[in-house]
Subunit: 203 residues, 6 copies
């Protein structure tokens, strides 16, 4: 597997990328393997993998956490989890996460419009009342978690969310509170590929 | 000209559109003519024209104001003027304006990435220092115009903006302060056509 | 009519007026005519007319919009419309609009106290519960229009406001979002005459 | 002195006054004496005296504090001290203090326009650069005193303010942080007399 | 009494104390007497007494006000009054008041944990629902007194608070709005003794 | 090692703990081992370990991330890293993190006062200018990471911080943005042991 090459596209306007991408040759094997795997799957290496590779231990913990929340079985669909990412990342003005996860949301939801709607104002998006309640809570965790109270749990329970579902919603909002800050201080640049993904009918 | 038909596409999910579109047959001639003209040019009738048609006098004043700022000769390019619209409309969480003017910005700038970058965080967008200064000032007019002072005029002058250019920047930000609020209280829905416009190479 | 002279009082302390008043002789006829008409009616030319005259097309659109909202027949009395202007302009810290429209509100309401009460804290002003609901909604459009929802429409309907009345409230708040920003970036100075208007018994 | 009568004008619209004015007959002698003295001087009893009379000990401490700051010798003129009151009370949306102290400011400054200008936006008022620096600091104490630093002291020293002058500015802003909150929770109503005071030429 | 000496401990790191403590010899007799009395009672002289001694009249009014609220009979226990001080002083980021009154709260409540809990987030502290309602209202007076309305009075009445109890809550919050600002602009330093007071079992 | 027992102290007032601690017997071996190790070292099991044990994968990723930032070699001392935790957790009103990490900070810094000072207002704490710059940046990442710019990097470089030191500061602030939100939505309760740790001379 390691014989395959990583095809890292040079960033044409890397002005915002504050921390340079490390030399691929210097990466630990497990990290290079993960980069190859994601390249295999997506056709390119998302910059979050390249930027965090500067710090192997943080890289491993970050993606372990990410996968524990985003890839596991859950009463929340994968599209719904991406809705949480897009809504809260927009509140945090995180360019990388809104654009990259906006792409994933379009694909997961098979809906070319939903990501832009949620990014600008999730209150006006084409979502169900249950999804609206989910996003209201995620935004509360994002912006004023210190005010979360039993009232919030009751409101979610009325929409059928269990305590574990509520943990999932809150934990995703909390994880991207971390992720958004990483992307913002490193000036992480969304790959050009993300902008168009999931927007065309037959993609 | 009036013999031509308006091809108004029914909104498939009009849940957010709080004020219904008036019957086309009831519109004054000058307004129907304008709708036809824009349909001719764009291939569809943007919903802002349909929503405001409920109030003919306000419709006429709104578009007269819009055209006076956005269509005239100016030291600001048309793409730069759309940058102001997208950045300030995003601060106001106006779904219609970010999505519709994001499309126009992509076309005017011949850049498929710029609108999303500016919508999420204009401070990280691929723009020139002069454009950055322009947007910093536009955002100040958008969010705290009562603090505008001579210091702001000096900072802009250093980038070569004349007093009339500064008026243009501020007036566009001010006009969309109006426009964003109209779109938000009417639940104005961006037409589906806008989302993909200007994203493909040969468009 | 054009033979009559405009009696423009020089501003004694024009330090805050950032954009100078254009030479009257250079104004287009229709604008000079409007200045004369307002001078005839009010005894002086409010500075908003002089400041905006620098931009004839914007002047025309601005006053067309203003008149469409403020002069038309409406279920909102003229005093109530001025209440909206004063409350929202105070939130935007717009010196011109609070002082000039405060004067108009005193006159329209035949109440020398109401404008100052609303400017400082409309929640403590001598207004009816219906007017309080109107101002609560106007302030929401002013400060967080992206959160306007069906709940707001229902609350207003309980006070007897129709959908068209709600449009009137919101559109006035939206128009002065524009107007306040224009006044603030141009450093528009309220004419000295406004401060005392409507404060004396027999005025 | 006690034989003279207090001429308390009944409040015609006391809806906002949450705590009723106590019966004059029940007041301690020293408080009644103070009420008579202020009535003598002003022609009426400002409501702050009547509202606080409910609590004699707090009344005495409040006015002792007030007088220690507002009546003493200081490098700040009495008009300048009232400017601080009006600017910070407006930030706190305190109807009583803005309207009552606005009247006092007009009289002290012999300027019928200054109070309204400062109440709406002190940054655009006809004041000197030294007064602007004074109000900038007062507003910082009013809204974010936890950020006051040596930089603020240096900026004020450049305008000739001594450490004791700075204490005066800050202490007035701090005292009215108390006063504004008292007025707001008690629903303290400004007497009708204040609105017109100091507005007419020969007053 | 005056023959006894004041044992003022020199501040070891007085970098934050912006206004120096006046020479004890220069203080008026009544103020020196008060300092001795508090030293007798507490074992040291809290810095608020030393800092305010620079201004004898303000010193007298400040402590008269303080005592009128904090030492009198009230339906609020002394511990509850200190809860209000700690919660609102934390919102104002006042180091002196949170640390000094945190100590007093621990002692009054005979609870070594409560002060830190309330300082960080009173919504998660081990308090009764009645105390929670008390603190919610105190925080509203602290941060947005202009929005206090009849609804707040009703909510408190449901917990058995009379109008005079409500005055007590609000007046304490208002008084510490003053006190916090004094401490912040003077850089008032909490005495080292406060940090440990009330934390040990047998204290 | 597994034969040793976990001595979990029942929470006496677990009202704020929203998610119950899982049965110890049900925990995976590696997690139980970690609990035993921390009990060995600290004398008790901090509640963050018990609360997160409900989710083994998230537990593992969380502590891997924590250790990668807080235990590694760095130009930031361990006390300085805890300063970042306390300052940002206080901004997020996270009771668990301020109280637990306040204890660790006191121990690491061998300073019984520093944690309370930083928790209330780090701008007034007894820290060096270099530490002040470090905390200013950490707070910016905490509250407005979208505004981080090259200016911030330059300001830190002037205090001798390398790009990797800056990553450390920002990453700690970002990780506790996650941690604070977890603690707040789960109602995580600080163990009673933390309050007194590091406050006594010989500890």
């Amino acid at each position: 597997m390691l014989s395959r090459a990583l095809r890292i596209r040079p960033m044409t306007q890397p002005t915002t990328q504050r921390f340079p991408v490390p030399a691929i040759a210097d990466l630990p094997d497990d990290i290079r393997t993960r980069l190859l795997a994601v390249q295999e799957k997506s056709g390119f290496v998302p910059n979050v993998f390249l930027t965090l590779a500067r710090r192997p231990d943080e890289f491993r913990a970050f993606f372990a956490y990410h996968d524990a929340l985003m890839d596991k079985e859950s009463a929340l669909s994968k599209a719904e989890r991406e809705m949480i990412v897009v809504a809260t990342s927009s509140a945090n003005q995180c360019q990388y996460c809104v654009i990259a996860h906006g792409a994933i949301l379009r694909i997961r939801a098979k809906n070319p419009l939903i990501a832009d709607q949620i990014a600008v104002n999730y209150r006006k998006a084409d979502i169900t009342p249950r999804q609206r309640a989910m996003l209201d809570f995620a935004m509360k965790v994002c912006t004023e978690a210190h005010r979360v109270s039993e009232t919030d749990f009751s409101a979610l329970a009325e929409h059928g969310f269990s305590d574990d579902d509520i943990w999932d919603i809150a934990a995703i909002a909390a994880f991207f509170a971390l992720s958004n800050r990483l992307a913002n201080f490193t000036g992480m640049r969304p790959n050009d590929e993300f902008y168009l993904m999931g927007r065309l009918p037959k993609q």
